[in-house]
Amino acid sequence: MTRWLLRRIGVSIALAWIVATLVFLALHMVPGDPAVLLLSAGNVAPDPAAVAELHQKLGLDRSLLDQYLSFLVRLLHGDLGNSLVDDYPVIREIALRLPRTLELIIAGSLLAVLLGIPAGTLAAVYRGAFDRIASVTTAFVLAVPVFVLGTLFILLFAQTLRLMPAGGYTPIDRNPVQHFTLLALPATAIALGLAAVIFRMTRASVLDALSRDFVRTARAKGVSPARVITHHVLRNALVPVLTVLGLHMGTLLGGTVLIEYVFNWPGLSTPLLRAVEARDYPMVVGIVLTVSSLFLLINLVMDILYAVLDPRVRAS
């Protein structure tokens, strides 16, 4: 188990390193002078003085290897460089924004799990009308891109019914009620798509587990139906759901960028979108690396959970 765990953590670190390397190389893979590229707006050639200054700032005049090594060293010290726009340290901007994005992600995935797993289990166990209705609903939910869902939510709940605010953010220590009211719509919009995915996976996985011999054994023992489902079916069925869930978190993280924009939620997407437009490369790199690391971390946790739930993985 320990060896497996160490190896698994090693894989995550290696992947994080490869991601960082690719992001570093991306700037240099584009033909032409990176500084000219970042400074050019439209067809106007950038000011040579500004180009020289940017060379200086990004260390573009040094050798590629030199730049790469200092990039890695600074990364290990948690230094993601400064914004090209206002010279503000990227890491500080992220430290301010990340908790808000995390809150949205956690609320969304919790909601998705709470919706998807019970619904998927019920659909698989009882089949019939509930299964059909839930499956058709799922197909529709999966066809609605997250930003469309968010926009339609605003149109329906804020614009037409006037039940909820259309977006915005209030810190939790200033007004907790308003904070969670503002969280509700974006979190639900993020959750539904993931809930649909979880529903499908849980349903398929539970159906598969229900047909296994050990379920028949449990029933042959006279174990109660509720216990057969919770102890025998779900314990086995949820293991594969976990892994796939980890992979789908990528879609959720990307969807968060869109949803934060739709609902004016001041998380990571605000500086990210601003930086993409301004070609503020250090800021974009900082945020992409943060979110990718978050994704790797989530998958690491999922795999560890997997091993906790399935003794066969622990042994091998």
Partner: protein
């Protein structure tokens, strides 16, 4: 294929409309008419005009063109690169293999939108940037699919054959392998197109995808958000277009996958136990000595080709402490008969006639809670394969304790103590350690001992053992049989022992019921049946089992499938004694001698056993 064409037609219509955009005499989608901004459905614009006075219908259709062009271009580029990489990786292995497999792992580390934003920062927004990003995103998926399929295909006989003919590698890859992996690649392609439409619209919505004034659904939603209050319809049209397109594509993906994957065939309808039987219609067994009795049981399955009866008119009975063996080849209906007694039939199989009596109760009329009270207490069952019958994620001791606690109010600790005693009773070495072991840490024989411990935990009156030794090594088989015999002797429980081996029957059973193709064909006391079989099938089984010095004689042919049961004697096709009369009409089960029944119209004419063997 029935489910494939509606979504395919749907997608085809959407693509056709997009392709036909220049022929439809639409207004120029980029021409502004600020005087008529946000006007309703008049003045030639059927769906009204947007915030710049542009024709919404025209923008929707031209927007479909943009979305689909980006989606198909990127999916095709990704498909070509990825499939080539996967083919080469799967064929030559080596570096290509590494690339095909690992590139997917690495690309997966980037949430798609973020990777896209990174590239947009470097290259600026626009359709070409989108196509580049989406190709990078989807190529690894194709590589992985093509790689896996190539690995499987390269070992197939037809590929080996082409290789042996000395065909050049390129030709093998393109002409032989590619067509054979086309199915999964096609599914991947449809997934990529659907997913690309979503990412493209999302980025355009952020203002970082398609560049205005080009029409795009994402851009239209972005624009309509600002005027949501005055003109909510402007928002709904592009949303609807996007959702309908993605829905159609998703349905097509699902249908394609189903069509190419034979495993996900038709869903079985949900069938329930018959409670149609009127209570009291069938009297309980007159013979008070019989503990358990199955009377005229027929099981049915509603299949694609009509209703079939894998078990038909089966009757058997046994008294307390007795052991009855049910013998027959695979497909004779032995296991289904036993499962129906437990109420554990697969959901597609349901009893349509007969009764199953335990004491004075008809189990077929019991509902699930009542059956559950019986299962594991009065009635217990051991299954054929101990590997799959134990739950892999729970400790062996806990699974036995669960059987105890399902029927008796015991503390966790007391139940564990009892499980330990049971482990000792069934002869598990190191019982204390084994309580905490997981199934995968045990041998097959030991797992079957755990199953037996579980079954006898509540001292059942009847134990059903469904081929309990078939999946085990020969040496272990004898040990398990000895254990079952000892347990039976000590507890006095009755046992139904299902097997296909007559040598096991001789060792363990008092009486034997021989089943063939869903029917009982012969029954009687074991010694009598062995000495003088009254059905040719029993004779054939005896001749086919390694007993005594007689040479082994196999039975030619196979058991017919339930949908192909003949009208007359079901064994006639394989029977050396068959006469024309045998196939003319159904053969009844007749009382041949006291305690002996046979389903053969010629039993009186059969030669005695020694003559057959000669």
């Amino acid at each position: 294929m029935k489910r494939l064409w509606p979504p395919a037609a749907f997608v085809a219509v959407i693509i056709l409309i997009a392709l036909a955009a220049p022929l439809l005499h639409l207004a120029d989608p980029t021409r502004q008419d600020v005087a008529h901004r946000l006007s309703g459905a008049d003045g030639g614009a059927w769906l009204g005009r947007d915030e710049f006075g542009r024709d919404v219908l025209s923008r929707l259709i031209w927007g479909a063109r943009t979305s689909l062009a980006v989606a198909f271009a990127s999916a095709l580029i990704a498909g070509a690169i990825g499939t080539a990489l996967g083919l080469i990786g799967g064929w030559f292995r080596g570096l290509g293999e590494l690339l095909a497999l690992r590139s997917a792992d690495i690309i997966l580390c980037f949430p798609p939108i973020l990777l896209a934003l990174l590239v947009v920062t470097l290259l600026g927004p626009g359709a070409n940037t989108l196509i580049l990003v989406l190709s990078i995103l989807y190529a690894p998926g194709f590589a992985r699919v093509a790689y896996a399929e190539t690995l499987t295909a390269r070992n197939h006989d037809y590929v080996e054959a082409v290789r042996a003919l000395g065909a050049p590698t390129g030709r093998i890859l393109l002409r032989t392998l590619l067509p054979n992996i086309a199915g999964p690649v096609l599914v991947q392609l449809s997934l990529a197109v659907a997913s690309a439409v979503v990412v493209e619209s999302g980025l355009s919505f952020l203002g970082l995808g398609v560049v205005p004034p080009s029409p795009s659904w994402g851009l239209m939603i972005r624009g309509a958000r600002a005027t949501m209050e005055q003109a909510p319809l402007l928002l709904l049209w592009p949303c609807a277009a996007l959702v309908v397109t993605i829905l159609a594509m998703n349905l097509l993906c699902d249908a394609l996958r189903d069509a190419l994957d034979p495993r996900s065939a038709v869903a079985q309808p949900m069938l329930r136990l018959v409670d149609r039987l009127v209570p009291g219609l069938v009297p309980p067994p007159g013979n008070a000595a019989s503990l358990f009795e199955i009377r005229n049981l027929t099981l049915s399955v509603d299949g694609a080709s009509g209703r079939v009866h894998p078990v038909e008119d089966v009757s058997l009975s046994l008294s307390a402490g007795e052991t009855l063996a049910i013998v027959g080849e695979s497909g004779s209906g032995k296991s289904l008969t036993a499962l129906s007694a437990m109420g554990l039939l697969p959901s597609a199989v349901h009893p349509t006639a007969g009764s199953i009596w335990l004491g004075g109760d008809d189990l077929l009329r019991f509902d699930e809670p009542a059956l559950r009270q019986l299962r594991g207490e009065k009635l217990a069952m051991i299954f054929q394969d101990p590997m799959s019958s134990l739950n892999p994620v729970h400790r062996a001791g806990d699974q036995v304790a669960e059987a105890i606690r399902a029927h008796r109010k015991l503390s966790q600790g007391d139940a564990r103590k009892e499980a330990l005693a049971l482990f000792r009773r069934v002869g598990i070495a190191d019982p204390e350690q084994r309580l905490a072991a997981y199934p995968h840490e045990m041998s097959g024989g030991m797992k079957q001992r755990v199953m037996i411990a579980m079954a006898i935990a509540n001292r059942p009156a009847l134990l059903i053992a469904d081929e309990p030794t078939t999946a085990l090594d020969v040496t272990v088989q004898a040990q398990i049989l000895d254990l079952l015999l000892a347990l039976k002797r000590d507890t006095g429980m009755a046992m139904i022992f299902i097997t296909h081996s007559l040598s096991v029957v001789a060792e363990i059973a008092d009486r034997v019921t021989v089943m063939y193709a869903g029917q009982v064909v012969e029954e009687g006391v074991v010694a009598d049946v062995f000495r003088e079989p009254l059905h040719p099938y029993t004779r054939a089984l005896l001749a086919a089992s390694p007993e005594g010095d007689d040479p082994l004689v196999g039975i030619p042919g196979v058991v017919p499938q339930p949908n192909a049961f003949p009208v007359g004697c079901r064994f006639a096709a394989r029977c050396v004694f068959a006469a024309p009369a045998c196939t003319a009409a159904p053969v009844p089960l007749t009382q041949a001698r006291p305690g002996r029944r046979t389903r053969c119209i010629r039993w009186t004419e059969l030669p005695v056993t020694s003559e057959v063997a000669a």
